[in-house]
Symmetry: C2
């Protein structure tokens, strides 16, 4: 069946199927994706440049869904809303995290979200030279918690006796509940300390 009159594939259809494959929990790959699309692996190369571009399509798909509405309001509202949106995004597509992590971000929605964050921080009074650092901190935080979600239920598995860890682990919440609570508390901690930093900066004026 070479060259059908109406194309079987498109970047859009590939993106949809790729995200579906990732979310299904089956291992992601070009060949597996082709199988899911009922097509030969080489067919995909008529529409995308390869594995990496498909992964960027996945990032774009997710970001378009969770990050299109740029939060407004006070700077700490912007920070909190942006972080929570990222959190929701990661929470509902945890299997995408290991794929998109550590790759340069070009997706417009994701860029716009960070841009909005930077603008908010700058407006709040954080100095030019510090805004990007704060954004990087927030990014690391979101990413770390994303990975926390994508991790196995038992992150720590002591093989021998411990002073404290083993006992706490035995009585601890598991999985998503633990991770959610840690995220909210961590977010509060970060906001508190950013407020502190800001008030110190204002004292210096």
């Amino acid at each position: 069946m070479p060259r059908p009159k109406v194309p079987l594939l498109s970047a859009d259809r590939i993106a949809d199927a790729a995200l579906e494959l990732v979310d299904s929990g089956r291992p992601f790959g070009v060949n597996a994706l082709a199988r899911a699309l009922g097509v030969t692996p080489s067919s995909l190369y008529n529409h995308v440049s390869g594995r990496d571009e498909i992964i960027e399509l996945i990032r774009g798909r997710i970001a378009a869904q969770y990050l299109p509405d740029l939060p407004e309001g006070t700077w700490d509202d912007v920070v909190a809303s942006t972080m929570r949106a990222q959190r929701r995004m990661y929470a509902e597509h945890p299997n995408a995290i290991p794929l998109i992590v550590g790759k340069t971000i070009t997706d417009p929605f994701t860029i716009a979200s960070y841009d909005n964050l930077a603008t908010g921080l700058l407006g709040a009074g954080f100095p030019e030279g510090e805004v990007l650092t704060v954004v990087a901190i927030l990014d690391s935080f979101a990413l770390g918690f994303g990975l926390d979600l994508a991790s196995p239920d038992d992150i720590w598995q002591p093989q021998g006796p411990t002073q404290t860890l083993g006992r706490l682990l035995a009585g601890a919440e598991r999985g998503a509940a633990r991770s959610d609570r840690a995220f909210e508390e961590g977010l509060e901690l970060l906001l508190d300390s950013l407020r502190l930093r800001l008030s110190r900066l204002r004292e210096d004026d």
Copy 2:
């Protein structure tokens, strides 16, 4: 050359070569590792169960080097020292991060390090039900910054015009310097807010 009198391989030798391969920046894999060891891939299976175990060996190797001395002192010294040790570990083996991330931790040195952290926080006055959450926050933080280091120089690459981000990126520090500064500042923020949290907890007494 079957069954040499003195074995060519051992878990130790495999761990050494694996870390070396990872640090070299060449793609890590069982076959590539076997080549580096001058041996057939199947030979490795006489000493390790497979790829995953080799990766745990790498984690152990790194942890044994950076986390053997458990920091003492005030709780915030313990937190800062532990975070900085992890940071140094990631900084000097950035290519190991994508491999070890998201796998259950069994390595004794790593466990001992987190155990020490938990014990310190508990002693400082953080309630039982909260210690693990704080440890998870610190872990997420360290991991996020580890990934930040392993990431390409340009994490954000806007394709179009931006309000703030593009301008800040143009004047920003690059690579390790930026990441180091962000880490130190982020650590200060976290410590500040943990101190704040602790003082509030003490007020309630």
